[in-house]
């Protein structure tokens, strides 16, 4: 948990939460966990869609104070 990489993409439009996640995933090691923060309504659907398509794993997903938290593990 303490090594989890925080990707704070709250209130961002461009490149936006999913692209920020993709950029940070590329720099992370396999096995790393990234926690994405997003206030974009579409993130709840488009991030799991990409994660599942590329073959990573969603560890956790919850909303806190109108901020969506999605924790993704880099599998490959």
């Amino acid at each position: 948990m303490s090594d989890r990489i925080l990707v704070d993409a709250k209130n961002t439009f461009c490149p936006g939460p999913l692209m920020e996640l993709i950029s940070n995933m590329k720099m992370a090691d396999v096995g790393a966990e990234l926690e994405l923060l997003s206030t974009d309504e579409g993130s709840a659907a488009d991030i799991p869609e990409w994660v599942n398509k590329v073959g990573h794993e969603i560890i956790d997903s919850f909303k806190e104070d109108d901020v969506l938290h999605i924790v993704v593990k880099k599998i490959k």
């Binding site: 990707v7 704070d8 993409a9 209130n11 961002t12 439009f13 461009c14 490149p15 936006g16 939460p17 999913l18 692209m19 920020e20 993709i22 950029s23 590329k26 720099m27 579409g42 488009d46 869609e49 990409w50 398509k53 590329v54 073959g55």
Partner: protein, 375 residues
């Protein structure tokens, strides 16, 4: 008070000029000094590379002498930084000089990293350097038709460039009279054709009208002769592949371990390097989740210029950067639009017009006044 600006691109140049004007009294009295260290004596207008790649601009229009763009009071040296010693407020340059500072501003920019995608450099066109843009134009001139694929790496600077190069390619093929022989296929890393939803909502129907096919959730993994393969286990065959490569920060940032991927952790409003009150970062060099674009650097430079001058004159900053970005979008067929947004207000682009295209064309020349801080 010695203010050191590292990097002579758009952000560094506008910032240095802004500070030189605001602190002209202090500079004249000798209580303030501004130094700029850069790797080049030339300043490149990077947005022009898109035009060079399709034969709409000559390379001579891309450059001005850096010194000619700077206020005379700025001490400009072509002697890039090799080592940062932030704990001791100094840098060491390529020539071995140690330069101490009171305030450091890092604006070293970003670079295409084709090496990050195996096979990309050998098999694809790019347009993020002069040589790559010229090579792309030469390839286009020899192209007689076939499957053209556009693919985009993440992250990258100039967020509009995937769409702009696509619309410019259509214009080019139409002008050559070979558009009916071209099958154009656009790919994009996320689940729509652009990161900005309103822009994607405008562009996708335009692609439909023009017969451009598209595939989303496509992140380049590898390029082999004739095929680009994605992380998502998809692929697209091509006769010509045009790419926006993934980007990294500059090598010196990575070598000095200032930030992963060469992007420095930066406060989104104050623009100081995280953990460093006297080190500021702007432009592509930051790790901020905002557009890596010239306008971002421009507006950050304006906010920082005001703040650093206030620090010198009053002892504290006076404003915050609000995340403002303004990007033109060349839409082909002699038309353009733009997207303007900040941290709190999303973009709301309007339909492209010829007036905006001509404004962008004029801006390609007015940029030099912008770099000098005049407009």
């Amino acid at each position: 008070m010695h203010i050191l600006v590292v990097g002579g691109g758009m952000g560094g140049t506008i910032l240095a000029n802004n500070l030189a004007r605001r602190l002209s009294g202090e500079i004249e009295q000798g209580s303030a000094k501004i130094t700029m260290l850069s790797a080049s004596d030339k300043h490149m207008y990077q947005p022009g590379l898109l035009y060079v790649a399709v034969g709409k601009m000559s390379t001579s229009e891309l450059y001005r002498d850096q010194k000619s763009l700077l206020e005379p009071s700025i001490d400009f040296k072509v002697d890039p930084v090799e080592k940062f010693d932030l704990d001791n407020n100094s840098v060491t340059t390529k020539s071995g000089k140690k330069v101490s500072y009171d305030i450091l501003c890092i604006a070293t920019g970003s670079r295409g990293n084709a090496a990050g995608i195996p096979g990309l450099a050998e098999n694809a066109c790019q347009f993020y350097t002069e040589s790559d843009a010229l090579a792309m134009y030469k390839k286009l001139q020899k192209f007689e038709g076939g499957k053209v694929v556009v693919a985009t790496g993440v992250p990258h600077k100039c967020p509009m460039s995937p769409l702009e190069i696509t619309f410019f390619l259509i214009d080019y093929f139409k002008k050559r009279g070979i558009w009916d022989k071209v099958d154009l296929h656009y790919t994009y890393p996320i689940g729509r054709v652009h990161s900005l939803e309103p822009v994607a909502n405008w562009a996708a129907p335009e692609f439909d009208k023009l017969g451009v096919t598209y595939e989303t959730l496509f992140n380049m993994k590898e390029v082999v002769p004739g095929k680009v393969i994605s992380e998502e286990d998809s692929s697209a065959e091509f006769d010509l592949l045009v790419t926006v490569p993934p980007h990294k920060g500059m090598q010196v940032i990575e070598d000095n371990e200032l930030g992963k991927g060469g992007f420095i952790p930066t406060d989104k409003k104050k623009l100081n390097m995280e953990g460093r009150e006297n080190v500021f970062v702007l432009g592509d060099t930051t790790n901020l989740p905002i557009s890596k674009a010239g306008s971002t650097a421009h507006f950050e430079a304006e906010a920082l210029g005001e703040n650093i001058a206030a620090l010198v004159q009053q002892g504290e900053p006076v404003r915050e950067y609000d995340g403002k970005v303004f990007c033109f979008i060349e839409a082909g067929d002699g038309k353009a639009t733009y997207a303007m947004f900040n941290y709190d207000n999303p973009p709301n682009p309007q339909a492209p017009t010829s007036g905006l295209h001509w404004f962008k064309t004029a801006y390609n020349r007015m940029y030099w006044a912008s770099a000098r801080g005049i407009i």
